[in-house]
Assembly symmetry: C2
Homo-oligomer: 136 residues x 2
Amino acid sequence: MTALEILKQHEIKKTPARMAMINVLLDNKYPMSEMDIKERMAYLYDRVTFYRNVQTLASAGIIHKIVADNTTVCYALNICDHAHNHTAEYAHFFCEACHAVICMNQIKIPPYKLPNGYKFVDCDIIIKGTCEKCNL
Amino acid sequence: MTALEILKQHEIKKTPARMAMINVLLDNKYPMSEMDIKERMAYLYDRVTFYRNVQTLASAGIIHKIVADNTTVCYALNICDHAHNHTAEYAHFFCEACHAVICMNQIKIPPYKLPNGYKFVDCDIIIKGTCEKCNL
DNA sequence: ATACAAATGAAACAGTGTTGCAAAGATAAT
DNA sequence: ATTATCTTTGCAACACTGTTTCATTTGTAT
């Protein structure tokens, strides 16, 4: 999937800022922070445009936001090799040592039973600890 | 449990700022944001002191931080009516309409199996939706 | 009462996310 | 091709969150 194909498939207009953003995310396997993305977008980067496109791409289902911690927010493409099911959701791992955010494909979000009157929309699971590399 | 008893039990020095903070949390059942707490602490409030005491009280196990969303962070006492087990952890519900953060005692965090090499420390589950009151 | 360590408050700063507005770019119709 | 329209962009300005530094104050044990 190229950035252009992704945009066309979701009927979102192709703009340089969006193309650059998606391409940066395509080039990296792991979820990236605003800073990570900014560093790789160079002159095409404007913070307001970035946040507006985060909104646009997220509500189109192209990317999702991962809040690992209130000071660590990452963005990742919704392309999962292992499933085409866009509604399936997964836990994320946050390494407290290197601050990497990693998608835990193995850990799916179960169907929680909320008390009467509550409506479920979404669920985020953040598992904190130390990652493979940091445990060596 | 009074604020003083809580501090003594954890061998944390009694100071006006800490007493006020714990008392505000004792008076409210639901997790509170910095703003919520500030509004109820009046002249005793200084932001730096607040954040330092969040650290102190959290690492002593008196309070815990709940990151409902990157722009919604709440703090709550670790007093659970239903259990003395401090290591047990629960999911939290975040109402997208009124932004209330509610402890879901019913939903415990299961023992997730991480891939080899990963070390588990902690886990946060945030369930998003709309609450009782907002669904009326 | 004193002495020492811990806690506080103020100023300054960095990062994140938003709003308003004018300019630029894309789209469609004539 | 030209105009009209709508979307997107980029900039300035702002609000909020969280941290660092440092001088001063306070708590507590003796």
